[in-house]
Subunit: 245 residues, 2 copies
């Protein structure tokens, strides 16, 4: 048996660092949350985005087995549907918990619009995208964007709690949709079994993005008539303490 | 706001086709099954591996919205835990349902050990890996391998039904473990929320692969004392009809 290691040879010949980036998507099935573990390569510093408290054991196992050092844990926003692992990971590893300055959560090192929040060898820029909540951020990397609840695959985050604002969301979505078509979209959730999309796909096929004005988008969002999130009364107070008991 | 499209520029400069490969992982939450939709790029022919019948609508939506033409639907083996979408996809699109010759399923075009089963621009080689079942195959691509139930992330497929054989499984696993360390491992299932691994990681950290003989591996597998799969009596007869009613 002979493997056909074309891509691997390519890496070896070019040494292009992005090709070797370690990018791991984890799923919390209870809340359909995606969590991202990111490093330049195995053996290096890593960061984690949107970790879920009940999955901490899996993240720590991955960090250890990949020889990584966890330096930061970031949430795209204060979540209402699951309890964050920011506090648990900080307690277990000494990593820095980070949330947007707009979240105003004590104990988290705030990040600001435009700030580089990545690692050596991994560029990641915090991008303020208010609308789903007033503290929502996306994280823009070289070829992909972590979109939190701002842009979902063929959907968008609701705007009816936590100072959500459909008009602000519309503006934030326009910023994302201005990215190149082949930018990979990695959201914080999917409820249909999808794991990734692209900006081009969402511009063309996201049913909520086929309108041309903020007002029309706000009308769509106002008509959703969604139930109150089942876990919000537990998750929000917990997450304002970084998920610590 | 300016994106930093280093990888994209790289693609444009080199035109290396693998960099643009469309590779989509889908999840069926009921059975924790991963399904893979693969094409050289949007707008081209595609194939799908291990599709689940109840998710057919999602696959067809993706195929349509990405401008793809589905030409083949392959199962890594006759599954016992979910009903395949091979028949439903063939009926909906005219694609060719494919299973290993060892499965002996009427209506499927058989593939054989070593056969190239990919697409123009996407190399994929069928690799016989009996052990979990006697009809189990993996699909080897340039930089990754779809491992079905043969090799799971930090686990392996059980060997106690469908002519499973722990000694054969051990030999098949040795074949996979001989692949280069950075080969990506995409299994048919994960039950812990992980989505991908590598051969190097599994060689070092898969708890069932820390033994050095087939006999020791067979002892591990014999000691698992697993319950009979809950859906096997429905799934196996259905899947021998390609999941058609």
């Amino acid at each position: 048996m002979t493997a056909v290691p074309a891509l691997r040879l390519y890496w070896q010949q070019t040494g292009h660092p992005l090709e070797k980036m370690l990018f791991r998507q984890f799923l919390d099935p209870d809340s359909s949350t995606f969590t991202y573990l990111i490093a330049a390569s195995p053996g290096r510093e890593c960061l984690i985005v949107d970790p879920v408290r009940q999955q901490v054991g899996e993240y720590l196992r991955a960090v250890e087995e990949l020889g990584l050092t966890l330096v930061a844990a970031l949430d795209t926003h204060v979540h209402a549907d699951h309890i964050t692992a920011l506090g648990a990971l900080a307690d277990a590893t000494g990593c820095t918990p980070r949330l947007s300055a707009a979240a105003g959560v004590e104990g988290a090192v705030p990040f600001h619009d435009g700030e580089e929040v990545g690692l050596a060898g991994v560029s990641m820029r915090a991008l303020a995208t208010p609308g789903h909540t007033d503290d929502s951020f996306c994280f823009l990397m070289d070829d992909r964007v972590l979109t939190g609840d701002t842009l979902l695959i063929r959907g968008t985050g609701r705007t009816d709690f936590q100072n959500g604002d459909s008009f602000a969301a519309w503006e934030s979505l326009q910023t994302l949709l201005a990215l190149p078509d082949d930018t990979l979209v990695y959201p914080a959730h999917d409820y249909k079994g999808w794991t990734v999309s692209t900006i081009g796909e969402e511009r063309r096929h996201n049913p909520r993005l086929q309108v041309s004005t903020a007002g029309a988008y706000a009308d769509i969002m106002a008509g959703l008539d969604l139930p109150r999130p089942g876990r919000i009364d537990v998750a929000l107070p917990a997450n304002r303490k970084l998920g610590r008991d």
